[in-house]
Amino acid sequence: MSYFFQLVVSGIVVGSIYALAALGFVLIYKSSKVLNIAHGQIIAAGAFIAYALTGWVGIPIYISFLLSMVITFFLAMSVERIFLRRLIGEPIISVIMVTIGLMSIIDGLIFLTPFGSVNFSFPQFLPQELISFGGVSISWTQLVGVIVTVLMIGGFSWFFKKSTVGISMRAVSDDQFASMSVGISVPRVFGLAWATAGLSAAAAGGIIGNITGLNFETLQAFGITVFPVVILGGLDSILGAVVAGIIMGVIQQFASGYLDGNWGLNGTAEVLPYIILLIILLFKPHGLFGIHEIERV
């Protein structure tokens, strides 16, 4: 039984990171209806910035994490400013394509640094002891990762529900023209959405970097694996992102725990999320928590 629970716990740990990464997608989608394909690259950038600050500049690690979040915040904001601002009003397909282009551009920029081809790992700053209960163990790194994720997701939900900026972001997602007419600056809201997404991406990058080490390929692949999570959750729901993230995390653990090694199967954790996604989409075309809009004609 402890095997089962260990899988569940590991699944939740991985899943909560998925949720945090998915949050970045949701933030951008909610306000501008754009799916940011380059999010994995932003996550990687956030993680690498944190490493560069601590490993090369020598800033204490906690501060460098915070700094990387701030830097990525502005980085994402300027990405929106430079590349996406002009595309407001263009068809969504071209905006999504721009994010695909951005993905390549950021890839290229990362290859300029050693991060493109060398593995790094964050210095450890948390206790090495394991936290164990009933045969289930979790490391401090993972625990802190989950806690940070929970805090950030909670913070963002609060921000969306209560703060003025959050409310204006929701308004923009609802109706751009109407929000313009009540004096909300739509471009500013888009910029902010990207910026906050960048912030959450940096946090996610930091956590993944601590758990797995900094490898560009892993981080890129992570950015892709988040897609099924986002879609499963329903693109515009923070709650959906959390639930779907944890579902996917647990499913992946179960897949490698129960499927791999039996019946000649291997690496099922990589493909199962997509299969499950397809099946769920057949029954719930808007994900688990996505808004199903009634089409008016």
């Binding site: 799916l35 590349f83 002009r86 595309l87 263009e90 969504i92 397909i93 071209s94 999504i96 394509m97 721009v98 695909i100 282009g101 951005l102 993905m103 390549s104 551009i105 950021i106 890839d107 290229g108 920029l109 990362i110 290859f111 300029l112 640094t113 050693p114 493109g116 081809s117 892709i224 897609f227 099924p228 986002v230 879609i231 693109l235 199967l265 291997n266 690496g267 990589e270 493909v271 997509y274 299969i275 996604l277 397809l278 989409l281 057949l282 075309p285 808007h286 994900g287 089409e295 004609v297």
Partner: protein
């Protein structure tokens, strides 16, 4: 009909059938015929190195694939982030024959035109299956469904023993009337095959686009509710778009398998899907001639950057990383710049050039 059939100075149509013509003047037709003739003749006049023959073959393969992608993404407006997987389906159709029958079985070496068509049909079937969610899914959800197909495809190839677990499955050299093709003629021979395929597909799609089979694609792109009210099933139309795209992708895949004489999963990854999308965008989404410009532009760019990288590497050895980083960077930059400043792609430049020459000197 105007009396001067070479330089029409205006619209002299007297029947609706007149208006359907692809070439409005003899001049247009002659220019295209000459151009095609040139494409067929130049290899006889001078020989290109194998590298560049391979590059040209590669461009033509991509053209066939992009014609397919343009149908689904350009005309029908359904983002497909899994086009490389469809190309892969085509390639692996040939590969599975090679796996079961041996790589130099008669079917593969002699009946290769049949294999190419068969791969196209397999691609079409898979395209239609993947398109099935389009009956219910819209927009991004559909795009991610195609992404899922890409991932599932890669995984399946990579883990199934039958597909040699993603390792190269070799395909033998084919036979022509002159006998088995040698290494020397290989790329040239496939250049001609590809050229024929491209020209045929080009005309086929050009014709389709001016019939109901093409119009319905733009209809579901622009407004699928209205399309529904016009008496077409929007879901089935989308499935059909995916099927047609799958066909061209499958053909491209089979050609890829033959040209490279082997099939390995590395040529059909997500990265390739994205490259195909980039080609379609740079060429011009929703235009037929964009399907030719896109691959040519992107592959040329890649080569240019490679050369640049090499020069930089020779002059400044320490800039190796700078030089290689240029590749993805320039690739991304080209996509972004095109979308920002010329969202209609190179096809739009072509349109401008054409309309300019049409007015020159006195045509109006």
């Amino acid at each position: 009909m105007s009396t001067n059939r070479w330089l029409a100075t205006g619209n002299y149509f007297t029947s609706y059938q007149d208006e359907q013509r692809l070439f409005f003047t003899h001049l247009d037709r002659t220019i295209l015929t000459m151009f095609l003739l040139l494409l067929f003749v130049w290899p006889l006049l001078f020989t290109l190195s194998n590298k560049y023959m391979l590059v040209i073959d590669n461009i033509l393969i991509a053209v066939v694939a992009i014609i397919g992608l343009n149908i689904v993404t350009g005309f029908a407006g359904l983002i497909s982030i899994g086009h490389a997987a469809f190309v892969g389906i085509g390639a692996y159709t040939v590969a599975s024959f090679s796996r079961t029958l041996g790589d130099s079985h008669v079917i593969i070496t002699h009946a290769w035109p049949l294999m190419i068509v068969l791969s196209g049909l397999t691609g079409a079937v898979f395209g239609a299956i993947v398109g099935l969610p389009a009956m219910r899914l819209k927009h991004l959800y559909l795009a991610i469904a195609t992404l899922s197909f890409q991932m599932i495809f890669t995984w399946t190839i990579n883990f199934l023993e039958f597909f040699n677990q993603g390792q190269t499955i070799s395909i033998s050299r084919v036979f022509w009337f002159t006998g088995k093709l040698g290494r020397k003629d290989h790329y040239l021979f496939w250049y001609y095959v590809l050229l024929v395929v491209v020209v045929l597909s080009g005309f086929m799609v050009r014709n389709l686009l001016r019939t109901r089979y093409g119009r319905c694609l733009s209809a579901v792109r622009d407004n699928d509710r209205a399309a529904d009210a016009m008496g077409m099933h929007p879901g089935l139309t989308k499935v059909y778009a995916f099927g047609l795209a799958g066909f061209f992708a499958g053909v491209a895949g089979a050609l890829h398998a033959y040209v490279y004489r082997g099939v390995g999963f590395e040529s059909f990854t997500l990265h390739h899907s994205i490259t195909y999308l980039a080609m379609a965008i740079v060429g011009g989404l929703g235009t037929l001639n964009g399907s030719f410009w896109g691959p040519a532009a992107i592959i040329t760019l890649e080569l240019q950057v490679e050369t640049l990288a090499e020069h930089a590497g020779q002059i400044l050895p320490s800039t190796w990383n700078l030089a290689t980083a240029l590749k993805p960077f320039s690739f991304g930059l080209v996509i972004v710049l095109f979308l920002m400043f010329e969202p209609r792609g190179i096809a739009n430049w072509w349109r401008i050039v054409r309309s300019y020459t049409k007015l020159w000197p006195f045509r109006y």
